[in-house]
Amino acid sequence: VINWRYAIPRLTIFAGLLLFLALGVDPLARSALVAVGQRAAESKVNVERVSTSIVNAQVAIEGVSVANRHTSQRNLWEAQAIYLDLDAAALVQRRFVIEQGIVRGLVINGGRSDDGHVDYDYGIAFPRATLGDAGEKLLLDAAKLLGENLAEELESVQLARQFAARWPQEFRDLEERIDHWLVEVRQLQKLPELLGSDPLADVQQVQRAALTLQTLQEELAAMQNDFQRLQRLAKLDRGQLTAAVERDVARIEQRLQAASLDPQQLNEYLLGPKVAPRVAAAMHWAKWVRDHLPDDELPEPTRARGVDVSFSADRQPWFVAQLLRVEGEVVYDDHRYPYLALVQGLSSSPRTYPQPAIFRVKLNDPLETWIEFIADRTTDARRDKVTVVCPRVAMDEVSLGDAQRLALQLPPGELAVQAIMNFNDDTIAGELRLYRSDVSFALVGDATFGGSELAQRIERSLNEIREIDLRVVISGPIERPKAHLQSPLGHQLAAAIEGSIADEISLRRAELRNKARKSIESEIAALNECLAIQQQLARKKLSAADDQHQQLEKLIASSLGLPKQRLGRQLQRVLER
C-alpha cells in the first residue's frame, strides 16, 4: 500500500527538480559558456541559445559571438551554430571532449563598422624602384649605345677636320706672300728701262732699287723661315692627331663596355611586388592566430566560492576538441570569403595534451588557398608551423625597361605559391616558394634601338628560360623579419641579357673601331695630301722667287756696270751717299 501522504509531496518535488533540470540546464549551460568564454577571451561573449541532450551527450549552440578585446567594434569571431558530439565517458569525469563537431557560419574578424583595411608593415619590401632604375638604365644604355653614331663624336676626326681647314689657309697665306714678293721683283726687273740720261734721277732709281732689293732679300728669308716653321707645325699637329686617335679608340672601348645586372636585384624587381604582400599577409594571419590562441591553460570553469584542488596524477584537459569541422567566412578588406576548416587537437591545456592543435583551412575565393597551422604548445616554447599553399595565383605582366625603346616583358600567368614558416617564440624561420612553368619572356621595343639583331639574340637566350622557381627565405624577429629572395631566374636573365648585349656590343665595337679608324685615317690622309700639295707649291714658288732674286741682282749689277759680286758693296756705297 502506497502511503500517498508520504509519496505525493516527494514525487511532486522530485518531478519539479527533474523539470527544473530539463528546462534549466540549457540556460545554465548558456550562462556557464558565457562566463567561461569571457574569462578565456577577456572580452564580451554572447550566446543566443544552448540546447543540450544529456542522453546523447550533444550540445547545440546558436548565435555565438566573441568580441575582439582590442577593438570593441569588431568580433574576434562569430558563429551561427555549433553542433557538438561530446564524449560521454569524459563527461562523467567533468571533461568536455568534443569527439566531432560542426561549426556553421563562423565569421572571423567580422562585424566591424570601421575601415577594414589592414596595413601589413613587416618591413618586407624589395627595392623595385632602385632595381627598375638599374635594369632600365642597362637596357636603355645598351639601346642608346647601339643606336648612336659615335664616329661623329671622335676627337681625332674633329681635329683632322680642323687641321684640314687651317693648313691650306696657312699655305695660301704663304703663297700670297710669295706672289706679292714676285710682283715686287718683277717691278724691280724693270730698272734698266728706267735708267736714262739724267744721272741724278738714275742715282735715285738705283737707290730705291737697292732698298727694294734688300727688303726683298729679307722677305725671302722670312718666307723661307715661315715655310720651315709650317713644316714643323705640321709635324706637331700630326703628333696631336696620332694621340687623339689613340684616345678615341680608348674611349670607344670604354663606352662600349657592357653594363652588368645584379641577378638578385633582377629577382626582386620582377617578383618582389608579387611576393612581398603575400609574405606580409601570411605573416599577419599567422601572427593573428598566434595572438588569439591560448598559450597556457584555458581557465577551467571554477566556483566563486572556495578553492578547487586537483588530484589527478595524469591531469587531463577539461576541454578538448578532437575534431571540428568549420564552415564560415573570413572578412578581409571588407569582403567576405567563404572557407572550410578542420580543427584537431584543440585543448584547454595545450601543455598537457599530447598533441599540438592543428588547423586546416581551405579557401576558394578570391583564390584557392590551403592553410595548415600547427600550434605546438606542448613545451615551454611557443612553436608554430604555418603552411600556406596557393596553387594558382594570378601574376600580372611584368616589364623591365622602356617599351618604346627596349624592354623585357613577362606576360601574365599563374604562379604556384607555397609558404612554410616556423615560429619559435618570437622568431621566425621559413621559406616561401613561387613556381611558374609557362614562362616565356619577350623583348619589345623600337628596332632602331639596338636593332633587330640584338632583339633576336636576347630572345634566343630568353627562350631557354622556361620556368620561375623562386624561394624567399624569411628569418628574424616576427615583428621585423628579413626576407631574402633566391632564384636562378635572376642569374638566367642577367646572363641572357648581359651575354646578348655583350656579344652585340663586342660586334658593334669592332665595327665602330674600324669605322672610326677609317674615318680618322681618311681625314689624316686628306690632310697630309693637302699639306704635301701646299708645301710643294710653296716650295716651288720659293725656288722661283730665289731664281728671280738672282736674276734681279745680275740685272741691277749690269745696270750699274758692276760685276755681280761687287753689287753689294756698290749698292752700299750708293746708299751711303
Binding site: R303, R305, V307
Partner: protein, 170 residues
C-alpha cells in the same frame, strides 16, 4: 473530474502542513540545514536533496532549514573553506581523494572544492547537535503549529472544495 484535480492538491498541502511528530519536524529541519549549507551548483547538493526527500521528515521544516542555512552558509564560507582545505590537503587522505575523483561522476560532486567539502563536513558535524536542539523545540511548538495550520485559509478552501466535489458527503 473536479475531485481528481482537488484531492492531490489537498493531499500536498496537508502533507506540507502536516505537523507529524516532533522527530519528523526536527529531522526535516536538520536535513534542510545540511542541504542549505552546501553550495547548490554540484551533484552533492542534489544527492542530499534526494536523500532528504527519501526520508520520512517534514518537508516544510526541511525547506525552512535549507532556506535559512543557505544564507548562513555564505557567512560560514571562511570556516567551511578552512575545514575543506585542511582535509583536501591532508597528505594521508591524498590517495583516497585521488582514487575517489577518478570515479565516474565524482568530479561533478565538487567535493574537491574546499567550501563544498567543508560545508558538507560542517553540516554533518552539526546534524546531531541541531537535531538534539530542534526536537524539544518542535515538541513545544507542534501543538501550536497544528492549531494555526488548521485555520490557514488555503486549507479551508481545499477542504471545502473537496467536500463539495464529494457531494457534501463529508
Amino acid at each position: 473530474m473536479l475531485r481528481w484535480l482537488i484531492r492531490p492538491a489537498r493531499a500536498l498541502v496537508e502533507a506540507l502542513t502536516d505537523a507529524g511528530t516532533p522527530q519528523q519536524l526536527a529531522l526535516g529541519f536538520t536535513l534542510g540545514m545540511l542541504v542549505g549549507l552546501v553550495p547548490k551548483d554540484n551533484l552533492t547538493a542534489w544527492i542530499l536533496a534526494t536523500l532528504l526527500l527519501a526520508t520520512r521528515s517534514n518537508l516544510a521544516m526541511a525547506g525552512l532549514g535549507a532556506f535559512a542555512f543557505s544564507w548562513m552558509g555564505m557567512l560560514l564560507d571562511p570556516l567551511s573553506h578552512r575545514i575543506g582545505l585542511m582535509l583536501l590537503e591532508a597528505g594521508a587522505l591524498r590517495p583516497i581523494w585521488t582514487w575517489l575523483f577518478q570515479l565516474p561522476l565524482m568530479p561533478w560532486t565538487a567535493l574537491n572544492n574546499s567550501v563544498v567539502l567543508g560545508s558538507l563536513v560542517l553540516g554533518i558535524m552539526l546534524l546531531y547537535p541541531v537535531y538534539r536542539v530542534a526536537r524539544p523545540l518542535f515538541a513545544w511548538l507542534l501543538p501550536r503549529l497544528t492549531d494555526r495550520a488548521a485555520r490557514w485559509h488555503i486549507g479551508k478552501v481545499l477542504y471545502g472544495a473537496d467536500v463539495i466535489a464529494n457531494g457534501g458527503s463529508q
